[in-house]
Symmetry: C2
Subunit: 84 residues, 2 copies
């Protein structure tokens, strides 16, 4: 089973990395870029035998991983999708 996690900065939190990308795109001649935000994308491969309860249980477990390690919930949001 595979879990896909998106970790993104909350709206309103400054994103200097995104700003740097936007400026670099402009310098390369790409106009029409209003804003860029960079986040993280994490793919977690879960062992098939691990845990029971299927996708729902896996989603709860991965959400707990996000709370404890993957995301800084003060400034970041996360989204979990489970691919079975």
């Amino acid at each position: 089973m595979k879990a896909k996690v998106h970790v993104t900065l909350k709206p309103g939190v400054l994103d200097p990395q995104g700003k740097a990308i936007a400026h670099a795109l402009e310098a390369l001649g790409f106009d029409g870029v209003a804003d860029v935000r960079q986040g993280k994308y994490i793919e977690i491969d879960l062992k098939d035998g691990s845990g029971d309860g299927g996708a729902g249980a896996a989603e709860a477990r991965v959400s707990e991983m996000c709370e404890k390690l993957l995301a800084n919930t003060v400034i970041e949001n996360y989204r979990v999708e489970i691919d079975s």
Copy 2:
């Protein structure tokens, strides 16, 4: 119009950052994690007036941004989605 870009390491390319996450999850007591791969997730806000031809043209433009700046195509794959 919004473009969502996923940049991921190609299969076979070593991912030390992903390995570090996997070890940290194990140390926190999460078992059942077989593998972790970390990539980048970039949201690009395109000005509405910019370019013409709608989603298809936007996708081509963002793919060009990936080739030139956002992804290192030697070791990374990218995927572009357009939200209108």
